[in-house]
């Protein structure tokens, strides 16, 4: 049994009369990736700030790397690395100087070699001596993460590390996270992208309005929602009504004009379903076979869609 890298119990935080965290508990196993999933404003950044010693909780206990964040703040700080939601790099310095600054502050032995290795690892060697103001968003993010890695922190907090990144940079970031975990680092990440949590995490918690509404492995969470089904979108409510009657056993979403019908997803049963629609001269504008993902989990657990579901 692995020990806990992070243990949180009864964590509460309010700003004035607005409750941001309403008593949350969780544990993160050493050397694992733990994702906190939730829409904007759910309290993810507040959680990171408390865990990273930047913010004091109103109540509850938080242990990071075995130390209490309130009474052993310095020990916690020595064990962690934090990459915030917005790249915290010094724009008047070069990439190399930014990394060197971190190495100096952390008293890293042979800092220059560490800096060089990080530049190589993050593919930043060519622009190492250019000012950050000339860097692209993706490069800045990479440098930001590289700065966090100086001194090999055992626990790393990543607050929405891929928000605003193009798909390619996002993949790179995922690759780096996997490498880190392979080296035994513990990762706590927040995200509003469900597929990100799905791809990377050993465990996921879903945060909504300051409460944890679910916890488990991505697979466990997916099991909490209905299995494979067919999704049909119709042009109007009349057609949706008719289709719901004809197909039976489905769940409908009148607002989205959507009908979900359970199915095993095999071609034979799909054909039967389509034939039946045809028989009644019904036409679905959209048709898709859906294997449950965390999107569905999110919808099922919170009663509202995640950010990405709304956007797409």
């Amino acid at each position: 049994m692995k020990s806990s890298a992070i243990a949180v119990s009864g964590l509460r935080k309010a700003y004035g009369d607005r409750t941001v965290l309403d008593g949350i508990d969780f544990e993160v196993a050493e050397g694992s990736v733990f994702s906190m999933l939730g829409p904007n404003g759910a309290g993810k950044t507040t959680t990171v700030n408390v865990l990273a010693t930047l913010l004091k909780a109103d109540s509850g206990t938080v242990h990071v790397a075995g130390h209490d964040v309130v009474t052993a703040t310095r020990q916690v700080r020595a064990a962690i690395g934090v990459t915030g939601q917005f790249a915290a790099v010094d724009e008047l310095l070069s990439g190399r100087e930014n990394l060197q600054l971190m190495a100096d502050l952390k008293r890293v032995r042979s800092g220059e070699r560490v800096v060089e290795r990080l530049l190589e690892r993050f593919d930043l060697v060519e622009s190492a001596d250019k000012r950050i103001s000339t860097y692209s968003g993706g490069m800045t993010r990479k440098l930001d993460l590289a700065m966090t890695l100086v001194g090999d922190p055992r626990i790393i907090f990543l607050d929405e590390p891929t928000t605003g990144l193009d798909p390619r940079s996002r993949r790179t970031m995922w690759g780096i996270v996997r490498e880190l975990v392979a080296d035994g680092t513990t990762i706590f990440l927040t995200t509003q992208y469900l597929d990100e949590a799905d791809h990377l995490s050993d465990r996921v918690v879903v945060l909504d309005h300051g409460r944890l509404v679910a916890e488990g492995t991505p697979d466990e969470l997916k099991r909490q929602v209905p299995g494979t089904h067919v999704r049909l979108r119709f042009a109007d409510l009349d057609e949706l009504d008719a289709a719901a009657r004809v197909l039976g056993g489905g769940t409908r979403d009148d607002q989205e004009l959507l009908l979900r019908v359970p199915s095993d997803g095999q071609s034979k049963s799909l054909r039967a379903l389509l034939d039946r629609l045809d028989e009644y001269r019904l036409n679905a504008q959209e048709f898709s076979v859906h294997t449950p993902d965390l999107d569905d989990v999110f919808l099922a657990l919170t009663g509202h869609a995640g950010e990405e579901a709304i956007a797409s």
Partner: protein, 253 residues
């Protein structure tokens, strides 16, 4: 390492970073060092001829120009501190095991260094323009000490303003009063030549005793009353600035 040694080492690292910033930012260099010289030239060569101050105008105005050199150097500190705050760099530092005060001390020291360079430049240009002080070596030492005291006090206040401001623009704007105050003091012309209202303000605001002390020291005839009032103001401003800065630094995440 002991706590003090760690704090000192951290502050040195921060200072090095801030010095790089200053050297790479032409606007900061211009505002802090060239602009006070431009002001000195303008007041002495263009306007000063029309002022009746009872002595050579360069001798009268140099102490005030020293104070102006200090206040012009502050704006960029407020902006820099605010930039660090709003861009999350301060949060990065705060989540690391580094001395709490280092980030801020680094800013205060770099401001002091910048202002001392500016003041040295002012004195050099003033000498070139015929400045003829009667100060002894001890008086010069007093001038140096006073300028450092003033700068450190004003820098802490500025750092606090920079931390508390919502945006870099408002941080810069908030230091404008510090730039304006010397104009409403005895820096340019004696307070007793000013109109009613302004005169009383000029006589009782912090910069007047500070400037009068510098003027006294440079004339080799320092006044104890002004010196005490000046030191009092500086210490007061320093304490307010320090307490405000530290508490804002701890609070804002």
């Amino acid at each position: 390492m002991s706590n003090v040694a760690t704090a000192w080492a951290d502050s040195t690292i921060m200072l090095r970073r801030n010095l790089k910033h200053t050297m790479r930012n032409p606007l900061v260099l211009f505002n802090a060092i060239l602009f006070p010289i431009v002001l000195l030239l303008m007041f002495v060569k263009v306007l000063g001829g029309a002022f009746e101050v009872g002595e050579s105008y360069i001798d009268y105005s140099t102490p005030g120009m020293l104070v102006m050199a200090v206040s012009y150097g502050l704006g960029s500190t407020a902006t820099a501190v605010n930039d660090d705050m709003t861009k999350g760099i301060i949060n990065r530092f705060k989540a690391m095991d580094i001395s709490r005060g280092a980030v801020l001390t680094g800013q205060v020291i770099v401001t002091t260094v910048r202002c001392l360079v500016a003041c040295t430049a002012i004195v050099a240009v003033a000498f070139a323009m015929g400045f003829d002080p009667d100060a002894s070596a001890l008086d010069w030492l007093g001038v140096l000490g006073f300028v450092v005291l003033l700068t450190v006090a004003a820098a802490w206040l500025t750092v606090a303003v920079g931390l508390a401001a919502k945006t870099a623009e408002s941080a810069g704007l908030a230091t404008v009063p510090l730039i304006m105050l010397p104009f409403l003091s005895s820096a340019i012309v004696p307070a007793d030549t000013m109109g009613a209202g302004v005169r009383q303000f000029a006589e009782y605001q912090p910069f007047t005793p500070i400037i009068e002390t510098l003027r006294g020291l440079l004339a080799g005839d320092p006044s104890t009353g002004d010196a005490l009032a000046g030191i009092g103001w500086c210490l007061g401003l320093a304490i307010v600035g320090y307490v405000w800065a530290i508490s804002t630094f701890k609070k804002r995440a």
